[in-house]
């Protein structure tokens, strides 16, 4: 206990050692306190060893920090075997002396008599630390060793010795301790409670069962000198190790908002939305079963792939190959995009577990696929497993994540016909969070069910207020205008009948108009004929009149000429006149 206090880093600001646990580094703002001790508490099977081992593996793989794993409970070979599936390359790390396992399990034939201490182990470790230059160390299941100590005072003393030793060597350490199953508070009993006060960081792992579904959660209980997320965060042990679900990082700038529009895959729906969905928006499609929610998703996925965007399609209700086949019947051809790899179809029925499990898997898959568009059909399947509350918070985080990532998310939510929710919202209550909410409904009229589509909300876009009829055909998905008659929306056959009636009426009107034109033409022609005959008559009359005038004149002329001739012949009057003239002249 010569070096009780660390030499240099007393006044250094706190630096953090990344654990490589997805989400945990976000909760703690960077990882575990560097050069200090973290206590990891949890019941059996709560994931303590996995967390600790991942911390070491990440340090060795990503930060070139060698680590030592001191196993008090499980043999190191078994730990290695158990962790083989996580892909941390432990045997390789061991060969390269980046990872050292120390088997410190008390032998079964071990006899204990009187007081002892950890001096032997610590001096042995010192050899290894010098040899490997280890910066990280894990004491797994320290309680096994502590239980051998004869009294509480000795336990306290050894904990203190260990802590001082860790600080003196400037090691970032994890000490795991078992706590009573399901009761994280029993650990505050001595001497673990003492340890909790001593360390700089304490993390509690929980593993409970809520309505038959396993739910794991993690809580940072204390973290000296750092802010942290104090709430319980769900986690799961996935294919690549420990993954913690985080709703939000402590220090994350608001994600970039895009005003780019992406097509919904249905041309008229784009028009209704004023250009399509926003890039990075979350879209919720609600409706009863069979209202073509999946079809709408398929159309979106096809449009995304057509633009060359990588897309992830997660279906819960049906097999993914069935979805592809079924959608091809309405002209949505997804198979070629599946083949060329831009579309990844996941049948999520194979994923079992809590809502958290789904979210983490989906996030991992989306990351792996580098998806820009994600379709989840239906998201309401989540509320089936585990508590509604956790499913809801998962849905919150899903949207939060997609926004932060700039991923365009389309999810559907199945409404329960029996519960008569109507448009009352989805079970998960995520309708309040999404940007665009499209509601699909059946309209029962005149012995038919027809699909109606309406936009309940669409943030930041002008959108149509109309209910449109969604028509599925081999040619694809289309929206038709609906007729509003007497306050009722007409769809299907009624709409068709209405349309036909209008067409017929239109035809009748057309014929009538033609008829009238013809009649008017005839009248006009008739009038023209009459006009012509009258003109002819007029000409005839004029000619007659002319003739009459001329006849009269010629007759008159004849008469006077006759008289003159007569006079001349007689020779009387002309001479008379000539005499008169003579007289006056």
């Amino acid at each position: 206990m010569r070096n009780v206090f660390p030499r240099k880093q007393r006044f250094k600001s706190l630096t953090k050692a990344k654990t490589g646990v997805v989400g945990f580094d976000a909760i703690t703002g960077g990882g575990l306190p560097q050069g200090r001790t973290t206590l990891l508490l949890g019941g059996p099977g709560s994931g303590k060893t996995v967390f600790a081992l991942q911390f070491l593996a990440h340090g060795a793989n990503a930060h070139k920090e060698a680590g030592i794993f001191v196993a008090f409970e499980e043999a190191s070979t078994r730990i290695m075997n158990n962790a083989a599936s996580f892909g941390w390359k432990l045997p390789e790390l061991q060969r390269r002396k980046k990872l050292y396992f120390m088997d410190a399990q008390p032998l079964p034939n071990l006899v204990q008599s009187g007081d002892f201490d950890l001096g032997g182990m610590l001096s042995a470790l010192e050899v290894k630390i010098k040899e490997t230059g280890a910066r990280r160390i894990v004491f797994d299941a320290l309680d096994v060793l502590l239980a051998l100590l004869p009294d509480l005072a000795a336990e306290r003393r050894e904990i203190y010795r260990l802590h001082a030793w860790l600080l003196a060597h400037d090691l970032t350490a994890i000490v795991t301790l078992k706590s009573g199953a399901d009761d994280s508070y029993s650990i505050s009993q001595q001497p673990f409670g003492f340890m909790q006060f001593m360390v700089d960081c304490a993390v509690i792992l929980n593993h409970g069962v809520v309505t038959g579904v396993s739910q794991r959660s993690l809580r940072v209980q204390k973290y000296r000198g750092s802010s942290f997320d104090e709430n319980e965060s769900a986690f799961l042990i996935g294919a690549s190790g420990f993954e913690v679900a985080v709703a939000h990082a402590l220090t994350r700038a608001d994600s970039k908002v895009s005003s780019e529009r992406v097509s919904s895959g249905v041309q008229r729906l784009d028009t209704m939305l004023g250009g399509g969905y926003y890039r990075g928006a979350s879209v919720l499609v609600t409706g009863f079963s069979g209202t073509a929610k999946t079809t709408l998703c398929g159309a979106f996925a096809e449009a995304a792939c057509k633009r060359g965007e990588r897309t992830l399609f997660v279906c819960f209700d049906t097999n993914s190959t069935e979805v592809v086949r079924n959608l091809s019947s309405v002209g949505i051809r997804l198979d070629r995009y599946v083949k060329n790899g831009s579309l990844r179809m996941i049948s999520a029925r194979v994923i079992t577990g809590s809502a958290e499990t789904y979210l983490v898997r989906i996030k991992a898959l989306a990351k792996e696929h580098r998806a820009r568009c994600v379709v989840i059909d239906p998201v309401s399947a989540w509320s089936k497993s585990g508590s509604d509350l956790s499913a809801q918070s998962v849905a919150d985080r899903l949207i939060d994540w997609s926004k932060g990532d700039g991923t365009t998310l389309v999810c559907t939510s199945l409404l329960d016909e029996m519960s008569g929710q109507g448009e009352g919202g989805s079970q998960l209550q995520i309708s309040a969070l999404v940007d665009t909410w499209i509601h699909l409904n059946y309209l029962m009229q005149a012995g038919e069910r027809n699909r109606g589509l309406s936009i309940v909300k669409s943030r930041g876009t002008s959108h149509s207020n109309q209910v449109r009829e969604l028509i599925l055909s081999e040619a694809g998905v289309n929206l038709a205008d609906t007729y509003t008659a007497g306050g009722e929306v007409l769809m299907g056959t009624l709409r068709w009948e209405k349309e036909r009636a209008e067409r017929a009426a239109h035809e009748v009107a057309e014929v009538a108009e033609k008829l009238k034109t013809v009649r008017l033409d005839a009248e006009e022609a008739e009038l023209e004929v009459r006009l012509k005959s009258l003109q002819t008559e007029l000409v005839a009359k004029q000619v007659e009149k002319d003739l009459l005038v001329r006849t009269t004149q010629s007759e008159k002329g004849e008469a006077s000429r006759g008289r003159t001739q007569m006079k001349e012949l007689r020779g009387a009057d002309a001479a008379t006149e000539r005499r008169k003239g003579h007289r006056h002249g």
């Binding site: 410190a104 008390p106 034939n109 006899v111 008599s113 007081d115 950890l118 042995a124």
Partner: protein, 96 residues
């Protein structure tokens, strides 16, 4: 048979730590009473020879290892509880 056998002990101690000193003293007194002239004690100080502690898998100090006669036995602690120690070493018949 155990009467005739020679006992070989190795005791791992942590320098001058109290429980290590106590264990060594207790071992010597046991040997003096129960195994006069037929015992050998090897003392390993883990502070001076940490590699040996590492190689032999010694994590708690003091640790007494009875190397022979077989079976090999490990006793951890200051050996303060005599009956336990004697029983573990197969010496209780002698003590009676």
């Amino acid at each position: 048979m155990a009467r005739r056998a020679r006992f070989k002990f190795r005791i791992y101690v942590a320098g001058e730590a109290l429980n290590s000193v106590q264990a060594l003293a207790n071992l010597r007194s046991i040997c003096l009473i129960h195994l006069p002239n037929r015992h050998g004690i090897e003392i390993v100080d883990v502070f001076k020879q940490p590699e040996r502690a590492l190689a032999d898998g010694i994590f708690m100090t003091p640790t007494l290892v009875k190397l022979s006669p077989s079976p090999a036995t490990r006793i951890v602690g200051s050996l303060s509880h005599l009956p336990t120690v004697l029983q573990a070493l197969g010496l209780e018949a002698v003590a009676a």
